[in-house]
Symmetry: D2
Subunit: 363 residues, 4 copies
């Protein structure tokens, strides 16, 4: 289905980095949901590059909701949101040679050279602004049903922020942080790692971790549309993500079954598990515990350091130094995109389980 995602609820993305606009169509929204334009603006601001650890490209993101909202609420028909592109200096880009680590070459083959190559075109991280705008609407809707979520920088080099241990409170605290950390004192040292990389014309990556509270048990499907499968499907769309693990993930391989299994208990009359090694998911279905997962965000492929590439015209190997404005790290910005993607995906799973109208019902 190419640039759409979801079943009962779908998001469709369009736009290129240096075209006139980017945007998204959301279809399958319940009618009567509040749409708070300030929430959208706030989330876009969090995603926006800022400071000396980001690209100097200024993105103002003045979005427009073209359809699907009437008198401040969703109509139930497709919501189209558009974000015009500004400040697009196409001159910075050309197509003489593909940038290593980028989609350039793969896209060239796939689209037979017809792709808009300027600034990564449709592959650009710029497109994630549309995801974030869409996610902002859905995040508000989810929170009204008690489903909250946030992502923090779990690790960059030797700086580790640790795991969620009190997710409800930690999610609340993280939601408004542009550089989200459980331990904000790590912001400066991690930014220093980024600055050091930039100084060398290089870039760095990091691991980010997400928690979701309030997901009811019984959501997801046994085969194929497991919660892990559907979430990871969406998450790998976020540029630079190369790994996803749920609960203790790869570390589960070093445990015995008796350590990895989460024992059941009763708490306030509700069945819970005493640990959460499985990240809130058993057999692909939510079990009522917080969802927890981590994504590996590779170092930004755009670096100014010289790298070997191929000149398309001559077929010769050449040295390429990527010019233009780019981020020396995107893992902190990816946190906001992961939040959006997670919210959009869970909304679809919940619609599939309970029907669209569930979101406008009491209780």
């Amino acid at each position: 289905m190419k640039n759409s995602f979801g079943n009962a609820f779908t998001v469709t993305l369009f736009g290129e980095s240096h075209g006139s606009a980017i945007g998204a169509v959301l279809d399958g929204l319940a009618p009567g949901l509040m749409v708070n334009e300030q929430s959208i603006a706030d989330k876009l601001a969090l995603r926006r590059p800022a400071g000396d650890t980001a690209t100097p490209r200024v993105e103002k993101d003045p979005f427009q909701i073209v359809s699907g909202v009437f008198e401040g609420k969703t109509t139930g028909t497709p919501l189209c949101i558009i974000i015009p592109n500004e400040n697009t200096k196409s001159g910075d880009y050309n197509r003489c040679a593909p940038r290593p680590g980028h989609a350039d070459y793969a896209a060239f083959v796939k689209y037979h050279g017809f792709e808009d190559y300027r600034g990564g075109g449709h592959f650009s991280g710029r497109i994630t602004a549309a995801l974030v705008a869409a996610g902002a609407i859905i995040t508000d809707v989810l929170s009204q049903k008690g489903v909250t979520l946030a992502t923090h920088v779990y690790r960059c080099n030797e700086h580790c922020d640790g795991h969620f241990n009190n997710p409800i409170q930690q999610i609340a605290a993280l939601q408004h942080m542009a550089f989200p950390l459980l331990h904000p004192e790590l912001e400066e040292p991690i930014k220093q790692v980024i600055r050091d990389a930039r100084a060398k014309g290089d870039s760095v990556g990091g691991v980010i971790e997400t928690a979701v509270c309030g997901m009811p048990a019984g959501v997801g499907e046994p085969w194929f549309d497991t919660v892990e499968g559907v979430l990871s499907h969406a998450l790998f769309s976020v540029p630079a993500i190369k790994g996803v693990e749920f609960g203790d993930g790869f570390a589960l391989c070093d445990m015995l079954g008796s350590q990895a299994n989460d024992a059941f208990a009763v708490e306030n009359g509700k069945i819970i598990t005493t640990t959460n090694h499985n990240g809130g998911i058993n057999g692909g279905i939510t079990n009522g515990m917080p969802l927890v997962f981590r994504c590996a965000v590779k170092p930004t492929p755009s670096i100014s350091k010289s790298q070997q590439s191929i000149d398309y015209a001559s077929g010769q190997e050449i040295e390429l130094s990527t010019k233009g404005r780019h981020d020396p790290a995107i893992f902190h910005r990816a946190c906001h995109v992961v939040n959006a993607v997670t919210a959009l995906t869970l909304y679809d799973l919940l619609c599939t389980r309970y029907g669209t109208d569930w979101f406008t019902k009491e209780g």
Copy 2:
């Protein structure tokens, strides 16, 4: 879409562990593909539990192709394959309390108690036999187009089999190994780890690694239907998989961009990359290099050690000791299921890219 997967080509799974049969429907197959029943039998034999590191449940897997094959070739209409269940001792199972680490509780909530709980029912690893049978057909088809793949046990505890370094040859060697290893001398020590766990009434997990050779560049989609996204979506259906990483995956987070980027070069007139840190995928699209990914397989949740659970009837916490026949490890058997799932997924991506008839065309 619940129990179906794929777009141009879809697989639908049905059946329960202790029902009369399990099976799969394959729809969207090109007409005229050879169907080799021996290949199916061989792959089912590799997946089958065997020896003292597996469940004593004997599975003979006498499958039947009900439709879609005529005179030894696919007709292009749905292929239904059925594997009757035998040797199902339902008496071993009851539903007094959910097994920790299993789908039992999540399924109970999802299906309101109507699920066939015997032996895990539709969540049982038994269902993967249908996946393996389906995958066997497709693996043969892919190999005729030069696409080959295999999975090995990458690591169990301290025993590490290392990464693929010569994938074409290594894939050929692995394809017929029930306990697939690049270094077969590790089989005995790893089996000893499994035996030790079983002796304690416990279980162990492991990391498995897959390589795919021969995938053309330009396959996959930029948003949502990335190759990573579509593959991981399917892979997380394999019971016990809790993490998926592509290329160097989480280890990319410890590299600089200049280390993680794969430089382009020309080899025999073809554009290649000199390294493969990105696992053959850039921007969600194949770049012509081998696909490489690893899955975390958690320790089998079925253990005979006593664990805490909840008695559904009384609502009280109880001690539960899982009886019945079960595997103390499934990561080696999961290799064969991962191969099947990978083949089925790539076949769909290739059909989407080149059209169904591509598989019966010369060249």
Copy 3:
């Protein structure tokens, strides 16, 4: 999506006329629905050819539910139902020349000659037995929510059965009639038309009409997934249907807007329309009135009269006389298939609208 239909709920068909079995997989069923095997047997009996107006091929239809039912109720996981083929005299068929009016030639091109051509293979009306079995399960479920439906022979030649005028009662009466008519006294004259055609080695067609009572208002989508669109999509799968019209259909073109519009009124506190020219659908969405539509069923293409065809081997025009067992009319049998298809389609639309669990909720 080839041989599957539906979104929240899907039906997948498999099998060929002269293969070992045909069947269907139903996925997305609510858990806990009663499955009455006698209902399935009864509906299969109604569809089965009988008497001197039908093919002498005897179909006993001993079906088997392979999965998805446990202790008499749906589990919520895929329900696979299989009907073995018996009495398949393949010798009656060969592939020297395509039968006019049949799928033979179109299938030959589509499947490059690999299709199972015996008796129409996957295109055979035989496959509708699987649809009818599936529809029987769903018809029972719908009726428990007050949604009932039936189809009658509206017209054959000059014999016109008239429109529904009291659909609730008429549906109840029609449900058990193998040759369904509002005026059963027309059965003999219509059968005489069929016998006359058979005597000439020819066949006849007819118009059939369906009514559905109890559909709530507000079901369907404005664009593309209109109720008319989704129903007609499914209905044109029924072999020999070449036209579908809703409400007054083509006759609306001879009315003025003031005649075609259905005025609103209040009846027992409920908004109704005083007429039903629009067949219970406005703007693609149900309005709470009975759904009414008619299908054109062309004369059976299999006739013994000599017709012109092409010999595949020589490329020459030849005279072809279709041998084998065939029906001189299928419109009366198509009524039962249309009922099944309608039930399956409406179940999906209702699941999409209200969620799967709606069917097991009170009220």
Copy 4:
């Protein structure tokens, strides 16, 4: 899937009659297709209301292609086209009572009163401008592969334009006619019928007929995704269409099998049928003959004549006279929408059959 249609290629519609804009996203387009903005403008002009037989609402349709086109050609990534709304006098509309024959009441129930009711909102015929713009792009693409199509007014009251008898030439002639007729001398008498209806505050309907030449044999699926099924699914989205018939459609019911079957013959070495009663489709699959189908377009529901409705506030029956600008007939304008919908649907079927790249290959 709500407001999207298609599999390999999808169209998604958004917008409301009195919102800021309407538009469409086309996804799955081959890269490298020429996009001729003049073609789009021309098709929009044909659809546009004009003269005294149409609504006085002036639509200029200044569209903008937001994404997916680079240097005049498709990129292969989503093409978003937006048409701003102008001249929207919302004051003409209110929501005191639903208009008979319109979607108002059904939408009110479906969307719980949150729909944008002004001018029909998302149900408005206005949205078809986006379909026509999308269809214009695809019509050009199809014609480059030899697939051409057109629709004419087949009948309005006693004025019958007759069937296609030389479709290739007739399609060429019809393509540029705003009021498309095989016999243009019927335009004035049919317009007089429309004027007469308008004079009475009423409206009229008509039957329209479409032919498609150049479709290769072997396209479509046996079950569910039959060509008839997929086309009718899309066609019933066109507002006011209440019936669809293929080939001789309902008239087939008055033929014998020997009359309805199309005999095969060889012409210039190619297999053809000597008649085309089945409209180019056998068993749901194209047979290489022209596709022919007719749609019933009901009289426009918006009339100024007084009709009975219900006052939502009081629950009382009231007399309603629809004010505002509206068409006394839309069947001639529907021809252009049907062309667009047909082109979009066939493009998807061809992509599914031959792969996306087929459209940019020679031959």
